[in-house]
């Protein structure tokens, strides 16, 4: 199926190649030496997403600047046109600055990255010895005291996202009436450090986490099997264990999307098209993360390898964008 798609895009590229002369306007635009600025945030997955997008734009003839930018503050810059795109925004923790800039029409959601993400509650596998019924959520609830810490006794401790990302784990568990008290983590680094310490000490841990993430490639963890996070669960209170609450189930699927400065389409129409078409596979991203973070390889080389092995599909995408 995948090959078939590749074939068809190559054919399309051939056809388009025949009429390339038509798109001289975009060739002119390509000549612009003013660089497109892509935001590089704080985590490795996003670095890869952005480096690959940058490499694609460069292959199409653009000059690209990768600019480090905080996940929240970047939208102030994008609203002003100082930054032009940020390509991995998670709905689950989209910053308030995005909502504001998007409402003002200064920043645009240009579509999903199709990076298949999952959020949920997980534990390091050694917890199965302490609580043999895992991953079932009923079993988890029954041995909540095995997950307790002094601040949460007699309840178990659920390490949730940093407070400023929202508290999805707490919301799920409260709706389900679980015997857990949630504690917000301060940062992503703090979450990972807890995971690592828990594995080193064989100490209890239950935390809200997400995938793709390099730590899941490096450490053995398991998701708690919660009731499926369906639409009914989130709209109908009578659904699920708690008859009076919505959201008494697993996380609803997370969407990851790409954003650009509102003026992008006018200034660089082809680049805008390319970014709209750009998608990344979660498996690919996680493998590359393991290469960068696990094996310490240089991110530029890892990305170059990815671009080489997907060269024909990318070239097809570029010629398609130029023809639009």
């Amino acid at each position: 199926m995948k090959d078939l798609r590749k074939l068809s895009s190559v054919l399309a590229a051939g056809l388009i190649g025949g009429v390339m002369t038509v798109s001289s306007a975009s060739a002119l635009e390509m000549g612009s030496s003013y660089p497109i600025k892509l935001a590089v945030n704080e985590w490795t997955g996003q670095h890869l997403t952005t480096h690959i997008a940058g490499a694609i734009l460069e292959r199409a003839g653009y000059s690209v600047d990768l600019v480090t930018a905080g996940y929240g503050p970047q939208f102030i810059a994008m609203a002003e046109g100082d930054l032009h795109a940020s390509l991995e925004i998670w709905t689950s923790n989209a910053p308030g600055q995005f909502t504001e800039a998007a409402a003002a029409g200064k920043v645009i959601d240009i579509g999903g990255l199709e990076l298949e993400a999952r959020e949920g509650v997980l534990y390091p596998v050694h917890m199965k010895e302490m609580c043999p019924g895992l991953p079932s959520w009923e079993a988890l609830n029954a041995c909540a005291d095995k997950f307790a810490s002094v601040e949460t006794l007699p309840n178990g401790r659920l390490l949730d996202y940093p407070a400023d990302w929202g508290s999805p784990g707490k919301d799920r568990f409260e709706a389900m009436g679980m015997n857990f008290t949630s504690v917000p983590a301060g940062s992503e680094g703090a979450l990972i450090t807890e995971l690592e310490a828990s594995i080193a000490k064989k100490s209890p841990l239950l935390m809200t986490f997400w995938q793709p993430h390099w730590a899941l490639a490096e450490y053995e963890t398991e998701w708690v099997a919660l009731p499926a996070g369906t639409d009914e669960c989130y709209s109908d209170p009578s659904w699920g264990v708690n008859k009076n609450a919505t959201g008494d189930c697993d996380f609803s699927p997370t969407r990851i999307f790409k954003t650009t400065w509102a003026g992008m389409g006018d200034k660089w129409p082809v680049a805008d098209q390319l970014l709209k078409m750009y998608t990344l596979d979660a498996g690919d991203q996680q493998n590359m993360m393991a290469a960068v973070d696990g094996r310490g390889e240089d991110i530029k080389e890892v990305v170059a390898k990815y671009i080489d092995s997907n060269a024909s599909a990318i070239d097809a995408m570029i010629s398609k964008a130029k023809s639009m």
């Binding site: 929240g72 970047q74 810490s149 002094v150 601040e151 006794l153 310490a197």
Partner: protein, 689 residues
């Protein structure tokens, strides 16, 4: 007289009983316990609106300024990247040699060499480029303000609190508006660091100008000098030394703030490297530490060089300057010709250093595995027996599954009776302060910091402000506390005060003994000095990783991170104070036959007490500053609000919480300094240069 004394005792006892009853039966006294002003968002909403309209009207002008600064940073960046690193190593070495000694030269050259061979050169130079712009800006601004403040009394009055605010409002509170106003890139970081770094030079300029002896003015007047001539010919040269002390402090402050500002990004600097490595958890602690060490070296080299330059001691170097020029050119030529070989060399050494960092990570992981249970015990005991009672009170913290016993109402009554009884007894004996202290401490432990009634906090703090400073400052204190309440940050403020108090108490318990030990033993002092230097100049983020790795995310980790950073001044000032106790006093004590302990307890510590208090003052300010970073490992309160404000571009929220933190810092600072001054002559380290 006796009657007056008696009625005073009666009044105080009545006040004590009143206090105790309101705290013991909060339900019955709900009307006094409710906060005077319910938190409103009016303030933060107004700020948000104000910023929006300001941006709308001044954006072009501000962007023009930003463009200039941006061009400056980028120009400097290109220059620093073009110069071969070997040449910069040589330059720094020569400066150290000319300014002071061969030892300093070697130290500086090796430090800069490490930046190159550890693979952090590119980002270090980016940081240096930002510092290179922010320092001159801070110096110009700070010098101008200083001269103006020294010349005009009314300006001085406004300037002093402004400087306090510039140094105590957490940078995170105004980073977001700076990005809005000046655009993205290195400029907001440069400006934030300019705001933070200007006050030291301003303070030192004012101090220097005020120290100009009066007769010099008269000489100037007699000889008919214009006021401009007088300023250039007499005042400036006279104040020069003090100003140079300020320059040194400004440069260091600027560097530390450039690192903090990396949180907004926009420039690929070494602070960002540390931040990203910190985000990857304990498995990357080595990398974060490695990059952090580069920052420490950068800070120490800058510190030593600017200090040596300001002391401008004549060195024994008699070689002409063209020797230096020759060395520099040689280093530059070698650097240019052998660029590829040099790059190969640094790549190889960087790989080696990466593997050392990896083994540090492994070491940390092994340590956690081996000592995990012990660490958990330490953490749990601290949380259960100290932190929880302080925060929520013994009544709520003593539970069968934490303390192993319950705290039934009967026992609670006995506890309260004991506290009230003991304090009344002290009052009868005439020891009012002790009585109030016992009452306060006993009730705080019973009720918990975060459940303290507002009037008690406002009342006792303003009372202390009155006793330690003056009535006017007590009024200001009340105004500031009311503002915090009005902005809706009262509960957060109580939490921040609680965590800060707990951290400072730990600092006292550990820092003072360490300081005493360092004062008594030169060897200990030599070991502690570089550790202190490192703790003070290392980027704050680094403290977080070991704190979380060892103790997970909770208040205890936050406390550990705060203590690591804030303990340093207390150690330093204690040592400094003890080492400056007059010899004659000690000799007299020895002649009286005092033992070493008696001397320490009865002579040295009391004499050094004002200086130690100054150290305590610094510790409190450092702890408040560190709260902002400690949010990342589990601290809450005001600092968390500032972080949320930065993240959500809610400038109003960030600024009101930031101002609240600054108010607390200013109140603590004034009270402690007032107390120190009332005890006698202080011996301030910073005044020594």
């Amino acid at each position: 007289m006796a009657l007056a004394q008696k009625s005073k005792t009666m009044i105080i006892m009545a006040v004590m009983l009143g206090l105790a009853s309101v705290i013991i039966w909060p339900q019955q006294f709900a009307w006094v316990n409710n906060a005077p002003l319910s938190g409103a968002t009016v303030l933060s909403d107004t700020i948000n609106l104000g910023i929006k309209s300001f941006v709308a009207s001044f954006k072009p002008a501000l962007r023009f300024i930003a463009g200039g600064i941006d061009a400056g940073v980028r120009g400097l960046q290109v220059t620093l990247h073009t110069i071969p690193w070997l040449m910069i190593v040589a330059l720094v070495g020569l400066l150290g040699w000319r300014f002071k000694s061969m030892t300093l030269a070697i130290f500086c050259a090796l430090s800069v060499l490490y930046m190159a061979i550890s693979g952090h050169w590119f980002r270090s130079m980016n940081t240096l480029a930002m510092v290179g712009l922010s320092v001159p800006l801070a110096l110009i601004l700070g010098f101008g303000l200083g001269v103006w403040g020294a010349k005009s009394k009314s300006v001085h009055k406004v300037l002093m609190p402004t400087l306090d605010l510039m140094q105590t409002i957490p940078t995170f509170a105004y980073l977001a508006p700076l990005v809005v106003l000046f655009g993205f890139g290195p400029v907001p970081g440069v400006l934030a660091s300019m705001i933070y770094a200007a006050p030291p030079i301003t303070r030192n300029v004012i101090l220097g100008l005020k120290q100009v002896p009066h007769d010099l003015y008269e000489v100037a007047n007699i000889s008919g000098a214009s006021s401009w001539q007088r300023f250039i010919e007499i005042e400036l040269p006279h104040a020069k030394h003090q100003m140079l002390v300020g320059v040194n402090q400004t440069v260091l402050a600027s560097l530390s703030m450039v690192i903090i500002a990396a949180v907004i990004g926009g420039f690929d600097d070494i602070g960002r490297e540390v931040l990203v490595a910190t985000n990857k958890g304990s498995a990357r602690f080595g990398q974060a530490l490695g990059a952090g060490i580069v920052i420490v070296l950068l800070a120490v080299v800058i510190d030593r060089l600017t200090r040596a330059a300001s002391e401008s001691r004549a060195t024994s170097v008699h070689l002409p300057l063209y020797f230096d020029a020759g060395v520099l050119i040689a280093a530059g030529v070698i650097g240019f010709i052998f660029t590829d070989q040099m790059d190969g060399l640094t790549a190889a050494t960087a790989t080696t250093i990466r593997s050392i960092e990896a083994s540090i990570n492994q070491g940390l992981t092994n340590f956690i595995g081996d000592y995990g249970l012990l660490l958990d015990q330490i953490k749990n005991n601290a949380l259960v027996y100290i932190l929880l009672p302080m925060r929520i009170g013994l009544a709520k913290a003593v539970l069968p599954f934490t303390w192993g016993v319950s705290f039934p109402p009967m026992m609670q009554n006995i506890y309260l009776l004991a506290v009230v009884g003991l304090s009344l007894f002290m009052a009868i004996k005439g020891r009012f302060t002790l009585g109030f202290l016992i009452l306060g401490f006993g009730l705080v432990m019973f009720q918990g910091f975060t459940f303290l009634p507002w009037w008690m906090v406002v009342g006792s703090i303003s009372y202390i402000a009155w006793r330690c400073v003056d009535l006017k400052f007590a009024a200001i204190t009340i105004a500031m506390l009311v503002l915090i309440t009005w902005a809706g940050h009262w509960q957060d403020a109580l939490y921040s005060i609680y965590l800060c108090t707990a951290s400072v108490l730990v600092c006292l318990a550990l820092g003072c003994p360490l300081g005493v030990w360092a004062a008594k033993s030169d060897r200990v002092s030599r070991v502690l000095a570089p550790i202190n230097d490192t703790l003070q100049s290392i980027p704050l983020y680094i403290f977080l990783i070991p704190a979380v790795a060892l103790f997970q995310i909770n208040e205890f980790s936050a406390l550990v991170a705060i203590v690591l950073y804030a303990i340093v001044p207390l150690i330093r000032y204690t040592e400094h104070g003890l080492r400056h106790v007059p010899e004659t006093l000690l000799d007299a004590a020895t002649a009286q036959g005092c033992s070493r302990w008696q001397k320490l307890i009865h002579i040295e510590l009391p004499v050094a007490r004002p200086t130690i208090l100054l150290g305590l003052n610094q510790t409190v300010l450092f702890a408040l500053a560190m709260l902002i970073i400690a949010v990342l490992v589990g601290a809450r309160g005001l600092a968390e609000q500032v972080n949320i404000g930065l993240r959500d571009a809610n400038t109003g929220l960030g600024l009101t919480a930031g101002f609240s933190m600054a108010f607390i810092a200013i109140i603590a600072d004034r009270i402690l300094r007032g107390w120190a001054a009332s005890l006698g002559e202080t011996n301030d380290i910073s005044m020594d240069g």
